[in-house]
Amino acid sequence: MEDAAVEEAEVSGGAAEFAPALVAAHPLGRSVAVAVGPELRVFDLKASSAVSLSDNSGGGSHSDAIRAISFSANGALFASAGDDKLVKVWKTDSWCCIRTITSEKRVSAVAISNDGTYVTFADKFGVIWLVTMGESGGEQEPTDNKPVSIFGHYCSIITSMKFSPDGRFIATADRDFKIRITSLPKKPLRGAHEIQSFCLGHTDFVSCIAFTCLSEGPSFLLSGGGDSTVRLWDYINGCLLDTCQVRDKVGELLEPNETEDNNLSVADICPTNDGLLVAVAIQSLNGVMLLACDLIAKKLSFLKVVTTEKCYIPTSLSSSFSADLLWTVMGASNMPNQATSQLCTRLKIIPHFKKDPLAGCDHVPTVLEDSEVPHGEKLLLALQGSLDIAKQEEVLASVLAALKVSMHKMLVKKHYSEERREQRKRGRNDKKIKK
């Protein structure tokens, strides 16, 4: 029994440290950023060159795993944050860091308001903090430009945070199955206290959320989670509109021994700009699942899976509004026995990431070969960290093994058996002292 307890603690401890690699594409297609561990890699697609980041903020550079990256809606700003409790805000024209904010706790999510006025980030206690960017904050309450807490999820780690397209709401998802839609007041420095709705329906942690809309139409919220579902929400009223069980579909594609329950969490989702498609990354699925998203009938339906090579499981997805490219990345840091030199990632691009009404279901997009990638080796070298396929294979094989178990373990609430709980109760420190 004792051994089992120790073992369980170790496994879960390792999983909590695990940090998947992230990718974010500039909304106007000017650049792409990849984060793995403390490393932030940026490639300028216009200049066709790797970007060397500069820092005028006076803060240090990232020293621990980056957990969240995000471009602002117009692409002018970029934010990165993570386990080193630093939130760094970058200007994307020069890729110069203009602000480094120190959080009291580790940061799990970051977002920039649509007009670029505010940066919000969520810490390990589930508290959402807000900082005013630039000098325009002058007419607001006197502020020493420190982050202020605006609301919180009660002691639940925020997994994803997004501003609604109209800028009226902030959506936050957490490990306790919840999505909260909060009204963003005109003066958010006094706190965002009015809850518009809760989107409740997930039966496990919510790992990712994304807003989607038809052009000029109302917007909707998409979410994915540990219950292997992608859900479509009327977030204004907190109504669940449709649920797509991705487990069944993946089950058909994988070999039977690969479909153990906890391996099929939704890792990331990414809708197309036109709102007609959703790309879904699923832990253990070598490829990207495409769902058709009918916002008029309010239905999500399985379309197809774009498969990649066997050892490629994307951890993060992103697309820019201008180019029809879906960027995917695979990689991880903070795994046991991982050297820092091994912060290798693998990048794949899926072209034609849009729903062409004429092509219909017959048109199957395929993943670009490395030789077909725009800017070729230059881009791959900058974002992957290495071009050495043999070395990559070696690193990625270990990442692959970790990914299949850790992605879920990182976010799931721990469940202890009845016996384990009783055992823990008996071993409580306050009881020991009494004896």
Partner: protein, 259 residues
Amino acid sequence: MASGDGANGGGGGGQGKLPRKRFYRARAHSNPLSDSHFPIPISPDEVDLSQHYPRYFPSGEGEARQGDAAVPRIRFADVGCGFGGLLVGLSTLFPDTLMIGMELRDKVTEYVKERILALRASNPGKYDNISVVRTNSMKYIPNYFRKAQLSKMFFLFPDPHFKEKNHRRRVISMQLLDEYAYVMEVGGIIYTITDVEELGEWMRSCLEKHPLFEAIPEEETKADPVVKLLSTATEEGQKVARNGGQTFQAIFRRISLQE
């Protein structure tokens, strides 16, 4: 102990059936931050009211009547109801209002369940509007109630959590008031009372700072029959009264946001 339980005035016949507290000994406190091991409804739609209020929801009808506007809904929530004194007191005061007590301690919840069943058995037609659920209301309030569903919320003698590092465990905080405001209708009333001055000030200042609540004038609270129950109906309140202690109330109204 059981003799202090003055609110169980359920008539002589039921006395034998009422649960005895000595068999439901529990710790005085429970950690609200620990992850829970009891079932939680995924959303308010999944709260099975027929289980709680069988007279209002005869079995089998519960599902079919969901969409009906006339379906009664829970209107009062007693958060941290303890041994249920307030619920029992309110039950006869508002005989047509569904109310629920929320309690984190397992054994205490069991006691309240038994108490309500015993009261119902010995007073046919009464106490059908109260029930209790074991849950962590600091984490799962939105799982039980829809937006603007509640007209009254009660926080009577909550744990004081004196240390600053434990202030986040207090059941009234700016963060949690957001959620309470969400489940309360505009015009709804939140009642708080404590015998700990420091906590009383804390709860009052949180409510005063919160843009969705406003203080209710004293003359209005004096006329409110519920206010008397705050210090007399509950076990904690009676204990304080016995010891001649002071209590600190903060009673606020849910208002709509003014910007």
